[in-house]
């Protein structure tokens, strides 16, 4: 195969994997650290896209708009944790149902404010030519950002006070309390952090996906499966799972349609779960 074709394929594959990482990392943080399944994760993502849109239209530089949007969603996450999630820890079905109700509300609220149709946001950065192929530089950015986000999560959990406390609280809740860690506080911050990451995902995807109130639905299924197949290891799990499922998705999508690519991803995930019920990183017991 020609060099340029190879590069094109590689970039295409990496982009798919990176998108999976980006949409999943927020959910992985919340699920891996707290065992919470947030069915409104897709809507946090959607809010990130809409906030970016508003920011951009208000005159902010696109990149700044994205950062502000992510932080804004983080704030929303904080509120959601205080008002809803904190009462439901340990109750899996209840959390799923309540966050599902939340997602219904969020979608409709956005429809009321922005209207139901797709909004446009041009892709910043242009294209570049590699041999016979032209590829979007934005995709390269996405790949870089995916790596950066993994790095960010690593740094936050290993080098900050909050991160160390949160990990202690996840490993041995009683002992963490015995050394003064306030679990309520760390839980709140963890959920907000996960929401911020979800918002960032939405912000990043806004230029390349259609920004519409229902966009969360398109991502939540894949994000879920990536996180669950990945297992409790927030970083190792997500990265390996995204790599595996992303490759399946990419290959099948190129050969058939993107619909079937998603279906293949989901099927492979189901089979993997059957044989590795605790996920790829489940056996190793790694937390990150």
């Amino acid at each position: 195969m020609q060099m340029d074709a190879l590069i094109n394929l590689a970039v295409s594959l990496l982009t798919t994997v990176s998108i999976l990482v980006i949409i999943s990392i927020g959910l992985a943080v919340v699920f891996g650290m707290m065992g919470v399944i947030n069915l409104a994760h897709g809507e946090f993502l959607m809010l990130g896209a809409f906030f970016t849109l508003s920011g951009y239209r208000a005159g902010l530089n696109i990149w700044l708009a994205m950062i502000v949007a992510a932080l804004g969603v983080g704030l929303v996450g904080l509120l959601v944790e205080r008002l809803l999630i904190q009462f439901l820890y340990g109750r899996l079905a209840a959390t799923m149902l309540a966050t599902w109700g939340l997602s219904l509300i969020l979608v409709q609220v956005v429809v009321l404010i922005y209207g139901p149709s797709t909004q446009g946001l041009r892709t910043p950065l242009g294209t570049m030519r590699v041999g016979d192929y032209s590829m979007s530089q934005y995709n390269l950015l996405l790949i870089a950002v995916a790596v950066a986000l993994l790095g960010l999560v690593f740094v936050v959990f290993t080098r900050t006070k909050y991160g160390t406390k949160a990990r202690a609280a996840t490993q041995l809740p009683h002992m963490a309390a015995a050394v003064g860690v306030n679990a309520k506080m760390t839980n709140m911050l963890t959920f907000a952090f996960g929401a911020t990451l979800a918002g960032a995902a939405g912000a990043l995807l806004a230029p390349v996906a259609g920004v519409l109130p229902g966009m969360g639905q398109a991502y939540v299924g894949r994000a879920f499966m990536t996180v669950v197949v990945g297992g409790p290891g927030v970083l190792t799990g997500t990265a390996s799972s995204a790599a595996l499922l992303g490759t399946v998705d990419s290959v099948v999508s190129n050969a058939f349609t993107s619909f079937l690519g998603t279906a293949a991803l989901l099927l492979v995930a189901i089979v993997l779960l059957r044989f590795l019920p605790t996920g790829i990183s489940g056996r190793s017991g790694r937390q990150l």
Binding site: W100, Q217, V228, L260
Partner: protein
């Protein structure tokens, strides 16, 4: 739960077998009312209410699989959809030839049922945790959504039925009972409501049969159910398949009602709606399923008038509020509130006035309890030979030979970390030994799991109390009996006998969670005894008991030792002194001393090991 301490619950149970279920009566009443009312019903109402009945049936399937069996499955919508599409395909292909669509109805139901059985097997026989059941069923629903949405091309078809992608399958025939005559709207209404009611009532009968009782136990405490010897995987598969069949039937009716189906049946909205209906109506209530549908759908329709925009917000808020404030659901909470005012409303059971003959002649002989399995009591010898257990680098047990003769009692004691718990757990089957064997009489049980050992007659009571808190004391004992005896009547008798032996007659109808701590321990001992074991393993049975309670427990164990072999792990010196049984003391993973408690008391070396005096101890004693 109404706990009037009466024997209503017991009698109700005992009389389940061999009489016409009251559900038949309910069905007759419902059918009469429906048929009477149908003629007067405006057509649009009949059309709308048919849908509610169909949704109600779908909700009932979820109430059964989740509320009753405790399996949180997002898959009911998927089986609903499968049934719908299957009816469509079967109907389109077969009805021109046969002139009826009952076959299609049957086929739709069966296809969904088979899909459920296959998925269920995949899930439950793969030891997947609860979280993952929810996730896998969610994923399957999503896969179906994705796949069915991309079948727009005409090459995707089943016979003459085009799958139709996003737009769905059109041209589905309505329900036709015979030769070309379709049911009109009102007839469809009557048919659907009566059928839905019949199936829901069937589910209710199922809940009261042993299968359903065991599912309830499974829901309440899966570990305990396993330890009693039930293969929980098969029961889960059964419940899941039953629910799949019901959902499939609902789906088929749906197709027939609308004469159309599209992939929207597989969306997350639909799956969540099922959950909303059941949450509103009451998790474990089949009637509540229909009420929930009526309330939620009624609300949606009412709001639909003022614009679709508010419906999702209201639905979402309802979901959140119900989850936070009314975890049991609207109907049960409502019933509870009403029953505080008017108690007779909540008790939908008619009081029994006729005593069953069964209850009169019960013997309280423990002998009969323990002989129940095979007609005579048969204590067995339990042996551990050359038991070694290493956990990674830790040598917990270094070569222990233990022999407990049939019909004797033995206490295992020793300081922390000495190996008595490890040895006990090897006897229980919680782990397999690194080396060595465990034998029951001449059978080698070394490789068997605890539930398999339970089936072989080793009764196990673990340290942490594990019983069915939300079920009555009687039901707890019944489930234990049924696991060993397999027959409803025999289990009734057994449970009653054990109840008498425990001296807890007056507690029969109480929820087990209402018992005192000591009574919990006795209940569990009772549950072990009810299984008519040939060997009983008890881990700290007097933990947390008062002096008097300990005394009674000693008496119970002495009773038991006449008919079965008993091995006890205990710290409580008072208990051991009263029991006055041979003792095996562990230290550093080996048997350190054996003898009576008095002999060990006098032994200075024994005291030294308890005090941790290392210099004077060497492992060989």
């Amino acid at each position: 739960m109404s706990n009037t301490g009466t024997r209503d619950r017991v009698k109700d149970w005992v009389r389940t077998a061999g009489r016409v279920p009251r559900e038949a009566l309910y069905l007759a009443v419902i059918a009469t009312v429906v048929l009477a009312v149908t003629g007067a019903l405006p057509e649009f109402r009949a059309y709308e209410w048919t849908l509610w009945a169909i949704f109600g049936l779908l909700a009932a399937s979820f109430a059964f699989v989740w509320g009753h069996a405790g399996i949180f499955s997002f898959g009911q919508a998927a089986f609903f959809g499968i049934g719908a599409y299957a009816y469509g395909a079967a109907g389109i292909n077969l009805s021109p030839a046969t002139g009826e669509t009952l076959t299609a109805l049957l086929l739709g139901t069966l296809v969904a049922g088979i899909a459920a059985a296959m998925l269920g097997y995949f899930i439950f026989f793969g030891s997947v945790g609860d979280v993952y059941v929810a996730i896998i069923t969610l994923a399957v629903t999503l896969v179906l959504l994705t796949v069915m949405s991309s079948t727009a091309d005409p090459k995707y078809h089943v016979g003459d039925a085009l799958l139709g992608g996003y737009n769905g399958m059109a041209g589905i025939p309505p329900l036709m009972l015979r030769a070309g005559t379709a049911l009109d709207t009102r007839q469809m209404f009557a048919f659907s409501v009566i059928l839905a009611a019949a199936v829901a009532l069937l589910l209710n009968i199922l809940r009261r049969r042993p299968f359903g009782r065991i599912l309830a136990g499974l829901r309440e405490n899966e570990t305990r159910t396993q330890l009693l010897g039930y293969d929980v995987r098969r029961y889960k598969l059964g419940a899941f398949t039953a629910a799949g069949l019901v959902a499939g039937l609902a789906g088929s009716l749906y197709s027939a009602w609308g004469m159309f189906v599209n992939p929207s049946v597989f969306t997350l909205q639909q799956a969540a709606l099922v959950a909303i209906w059941v949450l509103v109506g009451g998790r474990n209530s089949l009637l509540g399923a229909f009420v929930g549908v009526a309330l939620v759908q009624g609300l949606s329709t009412a709001l639909g008038g003022s614009g679709d925009t508010w419906t999702p917000i209201i639905l979402g808020s309802v979901l959140i509020l119900v989850v936070l404030l009314l975890p049991d659901g609207v109907v049960p909470s409502g019933l509870r509130a009403v029953s505080n005012v008017a108690p007779w409303v909540a008790s939908h059971r008619l009081p029994r006035t006729v005593r069953s003959r069964l209850l009169q002649r019960e013997s309280t002989e423990l002998r009969d309890v323990l002989a129940a399995r095979s007609g005579q009591f048969k204590p067995k010898r339990l042996e551990g030979q050359g038991l070694v257990k290493h956990f990674g680098g830790v040598k917990a047990l270094n070569g222990v030979d233990l022999r407990v003769d049939a019909g004797s009692v033995r206490a295992l004691i020793g300081p922390n970390g000495a190996g008595k718990s490890t040895c006990f757990n090897l006897l229980v089957g919680r782990y397999a030994p690194t080396e060595g064997h465990v034998r029951l009489d001449d059978d080698d049980v070394t490789r068997l799991r605890p539930d398999q050992r339970a089936a072989m007659g080793i009764g196990i009571k673990m340290q942490v109390p594990s019983y069915y808190g939300a079920l009555s004391v009687f039901e707890n004992l019944w489930l234990a009996s049924f696991a060993a005896l397999g027959k409803v009547e025999d289990s009734n008798r057994q449970a009653l006998r054990v109840l008498r032996w425990l001296g807890m007659d007056d507690r029969a109808s109480l929820d087990a969670s209402a018992l005192s701590h000591g009574e919990h321990q006795w209940l569990e001992i009772g549950m072990v005894v009810a299984g008519a074991p040939s060997v009983m393993l008890l881990d700290e049975p007097t933990a947390g008991m008062t002096r008097e309670e300990t005394h009674k427990t000693v008496d119970m164990i002495r009773d038991m030792s006449q008919f079965t072999t008993v091995v006890v792990v205990e710290h409580d010196m008072e208990f051991l002194r009263q029991l006055d049984a041979p003792v095996t003391m562990f230290h550093q993973g080996l048997v350190f001393a054996e003898g009576s408690i008095e002999e060990l008391r006098k032994d200075e070396r024994v005291l030294d090991t308890y005090l941790g005096r290392r210099p004077s101890i060497d492992a060989a004693g």
